[in-house]
């Protein structure tokens, strides 16, 4: 555990530094005896290659950048777990960038990422706009840095791979479930802010509603409890409703709380469903029905896909769609 350099190892193992480098990076190019001698010295000295020198000389960093908007959303943390687990297996380090909402910040971050010479980028921002997408594309094309969209998709593009579930289908299915229960006035509670995946959930909802000749009703609110509670209270004064699908579990639970305060019985009067199957859904009473999204897997598969891209392996598919489930608990019947 001293600050040994490659020279120290070379000296002690009586070889040149080129051989030490090969013993580490291309072991098959070194005679077994030599290799073992070198490796033993490395062990003895606790030698670890200096990451900067390595990066500078090889133009590879074995580092990936992960771009996240606001870590506190439940899905982000769980995706990070999946990403980190796979990154560890393939020996990549993870540089974390949390975006703030300032205009232009994302562009700065991306420039920084280019300067850091990461080998790949995982893009977890599902609020992506056309402008941002173009910028991503520039980075991919001009700098040849592979990018994977994690838990988001961008409509008219197959040149940047993505890993997600079929949110449109999931939105359709959960809506269909409520329709099959006989619900007529089904609202989708989405967010004020525009997220790619929520657009898809809405699209699926609309498809189901229209197929059943019902009236589509989309309400937009905030993810913040204090704000959406007020919205929901107002809502009950003015609307007839017997079904609600919220784009996030926590919003669904928040709605349930207001509903019950307004003397609505669940699921007798209203069915409620959410998305994700977080702890919120399990801890709520009644327990929340929802679409189960394999968030950990989305993170893990994205990272795995990125490793393939970084190794220039060919991909079978550029849009990976994982399976989802409907978890029906106590807020649907």
């Amino acid at each position: 555990m001293s600050k040994a350099t490659i020279y120290d190892v070379a000296g002690k193992a009586r070889v040149s530094l080129a051989t030490v480098s090969r013993a580490i990076n291309n072991p098959e190019k070194v005679k077994p005896e030599t290799r073992e001698r070198v490796l033993r010295v490395i062990e003895e000295l606790g030698y670890k290659p200096n990451a900067f020198a390595k990066g500078l000389a090889s133009r590879k960093s074995t580092t990936v950048a992960v771009l996240v908007p606001d870590m506190s959303r439940a899905s982000m943390a769980e995706m990070m777990n999946g990403i980190a687990d796979i990154a560890r297996v393939y020996k990549y380090s993870v540089l974390l960038y949390i975006l703030d909402n300032e205009e232009g910040h994302e562009e700065d971050v991306l420039k920084e990422i280019v300067a850091a010479q990461v080998d790949g980028i995982l893009y977890l921002n599902d609020e992506i706009t056309a402008k941002q997408f173009d910028f991503l594309r520039t980075i991919k094309n001009d700098y040849k840095i592979p990018i994977v969209l994690t838990n988001t998709v961008y409509p008219e593009s197959d040149d940047i791979p993505s890993v997600s579930i079929d949110y449109e289908k999931a939105g359709y299915e959960i809506t269909k479930k409520l329709i099959d229960e006989g619900r007529k006035d089904i609202f989708m509670v989405s967010t004020v802010r525009k997220y790619m995946v929520n657009d898809l959930k809405e699209a699926g909802y609309l498809r189901a509603i229209e197929a059943a000749s019902l009236t589509p009703r989309i309400m937009r609110t905030s993810g913040r409890i204090a704000i959406n509670t007020d919205h929901f209270n107002e809502f009950f004064r003015d609307h007839k409703v017997d079904g609600v699908i919220a784009v996030r579990d926590s919003i669904a639970v928040s709605f349930m709380n207001v509903a019950r305060q307004n003397h609505v019985r669940l699921p007798d009067d209203i069915s409620v469903a959410g998305f994700q199957n977080t702890k919120y859904a399990q801890l709520a009473r009644p327990q929340l029905s929802c679409v189960d999204v394999p968030i950990y897997d989305i993170g893990a598969v994205s990272m795995r896909l990125l490793t393939k891209l970084m190794n220039e392996e060919s991909l079978e598919e550029t849009r990976v769609t994982l399976e989802h489930d409907l978890v029906l608990r106590q807020t649907t019947r």
Copy 2:
């Protein structure tokens, strides 16, 4: 936005590369006119210093490593937000390392961190053992890498700074609150796994219980809902209880759910309180009383403190204790 190097800038600005370097890093050492000319060229060329070359030459990385056990704990994500915000202000990049539970993994990670030549380390693992602490100390002393313990403390040491709240006091206060309500059979529900901060909460609980000449009762369970639900159900068969303090909000909510299923009224029959003031506490019905822990601030202050350490500024205090609050809602009376 091309891959300009410092040579390109120097050439176009008609100065040497040393001057370009100074214009960026020590602007006061460059004549204003020259500086501006250089800066303009930098802008024109979209030049960004290569992070590896810079790191190699300067032996500084402007990167900090953050060590986290399991990102999915609610507190971790929120601390990351605080850390990232301050890191951005001081222009540090964040390397994220999520520990797995394998024996020896943490040591590997720390070696990797040393190799990556980070300028500082934020240690968010509150399951720290004596052995791990010694290892941290080695890193600090042998490699001179500053370390800050974030939201955890280690008992007999002031040589590694920490940022936290006074968990012992918080544990005392919330227990005292239940005692003042007239509760006699107060349980602390802690975790099977040993976390530094939970030990402190327990210590505070014990101090209050003993001061009131009550019998201390500590129960240990899992953070996983499926497991602790079984525990709690069993618990109700065998115990008399009129107060419960859980070390995490989610555990408190899980307990509440089981309690109500066992026809216990809250807060008439039992008072319940948690720790952290997460969304779980706000979304639960009845709304959970708890200790409010300023998690974001703990992250932010840690990062700020680390920047001071990295700049070799002197510290006023080596143990920073932030203020906490008691948030009394509907599960206490």
